[in-house]
Symmetry: C2
């Protein structure tokens, strides 16, 4: 279905899971004229060219942004500053620049000061993604019914934000605007700390695997399996998330440890009443998420039915 062309030329910097999915969604919806893409790795560029992910693959970010009306920074958070410095002189006056980083304060501090007068920087973060990465892993439906948070900063042109929002909504995303620091705190709770915990538990299991041979993998059926999915996410992206959202993550980790020790003590003391009450409360949160439409109620995500 053709919609209005919102941007004549879009430049995707980085051709991983998110940018790849954006390219497919952009093309399917007929939302843009031309899609130009680049990636730091020659291998990624070669794959993108081979599978025709974008209309034109170029070698450098500076080249990619030439004449682009929308520039998407889809690189790890730690690389945003360097990319912004590289593209700044080549940006078209009036262009909109957005990013898809999981942390916003660091990106705003690294990118905003480098943007030339007349270029509109609208920081963003799609709450979507899978444990897969790379140029072959994208799919056009990734953003459907998922949140895409925009964290406009002081002086952001409302019209530039509004146009970007229309694009994201055309992907099927639900767009919300949010304060930069609030974003980083909320994400530390719902995403960053859970990921660190999953990484940790999978690491513990790995140590024990050397004792229990392959039993940990063999019998991963419940609980642990979901942790390994989370812990399979892109290492570079997550390293950068923890290094750049350090304060919020350390805060939530502190709360987590306190809470864990409380439950651990209840187990040690045999306090069944406390455990039962706690587990009953957490169940309610799950119900809230189902009601908010952010997950399916199908048993085991339907995996039980077709293993």
């Amino acid at each position: 279905m053709a919609e209005t062309v919102l941007y004549q030329r879009v430049a995707l910097i980085g051709l991983g899971h998110i940018a790849g999915s954006m390219a497919l969604a952009l093309r399917r919806k007929g939302l843009v004229g031309e899609i130009v893409g680049t990636a730091r790795s020659a291998e990624t560029r070669a794959v993108a060219a081979e599978i025709g992910l974008v209309d034109r693959v170029v070698e450098t970010a500076a080249e990619a942004v030439e004449g682009a009306d929308l520039v998407v920074l889809a690189v790890p958070v730690g690389a945003m500053g360097a990319v912004a410095a590289e593209i700044a002189p080549a940006l078209k006056p009036g262009a909109t620049v957005t990013d898809v980083g999981s942390v916003k304060r660091t990106v705003v501090e690294a990118v905003a000061p480098l943007m030339p007068e007349g270029v509109h920087f609208v920081p963003g973060h799609p709450l979507a993604g899978t444990e897969h990465s790379g140029p072959r892993s994208g799919f056009a439906e990734l953003f459907e019914n998922r949140w895409w948070l925009l964290t406009p900063i002081e002086g952001t042109d409302p019209e530039a934000t509004a146009r970007l929002r229309r694009l994201l909504e055309a992907f099927g995303a639900n767009v919300d605007e949010m304060d930069v620091d609030r974003h980083d705190l909320v994400l530390a709770v719902v995403s960053h700390t859970p990921h660190l915990i999953a990484y940790t538990m999978v690491g513990v299991a790995d140590h024990l695997r050397r004792v229990t041979h392959d039993e940990v993998i063999k019998y991963s059926a419940t609980g642990f399996r979901d942790f390994t999915r989370i812990a399979a996410s892109d290492p570079t992206m997550w390293r950068d998330v923890f290094l750049t959202n350090k304060d919020a993550v350390l805060d939530i980790l502190g709360r987590f440890t306190e809470e864990l020790f409380t439950l651990q003590r209840a187990i040690r003391m045999g306090d069944g009443e406390m455990l039962h009450a706690y587990f009953t409360e957490t169940r309610e949160i799950r119900r809230g998420i189902i009601q908010a439409g952010q997950d399916t109620d199908a048993p085991d995500f339907g995996r039980g039915k077709k293993p």
Copy 2:
């Protein structure tokens, strides 16, 4: 498809998620003559009767096991001893008794001494289940391609074990035999501790929810959402798991905390190299699980495609 009738009469004690799924699988495969069921709660019995989950619903466990060739104890681990005491005098000579408890040492200690001479007790544990519970939540395919561990004890009749194994294999389960204590350690790693951690993280988020309103639920899209699924499991079942597999869970929790503090320190010190190396290793474990066929490689369990 009709297979050989392996037991003329099966008694299901407890009519929750697991027993309900067994009832549906037993009937679909034509593996038994009659299925009798009971549950402690009158409401559960009424629902089971209403939906025709079993052939006959009776009021007490003692009544249910009368003339049964196979008795399945599908109650929380903490209730196994009391049920065993109630049914012991009513068990048919030559009958097989099994259970589906997530912890095996405690169940063996509570149940085995009460079994009359000539009754075969074969402890078991299906590594299957969803976050749903109750008599309406079962489905016949729950055990397909999932492990079902049997932990036969000294003096268990091999023929009784072999027949039970045939039944479970007819459900589509992969059956393994395992030492009682090894079972409890492995499960502490792959299931019990991950569940406790998920409960904890969801509890932390709940405290913060009072600060951040509904944002935690609204933006749960990645990471946290999987935790809430795990943390929505049956509170009574999980209370009993932690109280009865206390030593192994506390051991693994200790290792987990050490490991978490190591990662937390790396974040605080800005040690990106350590974080990247750690996250790369955990990715390998995930690959092992995919290869072992215990999960699907579909992005986001396919949820991304049809949110």
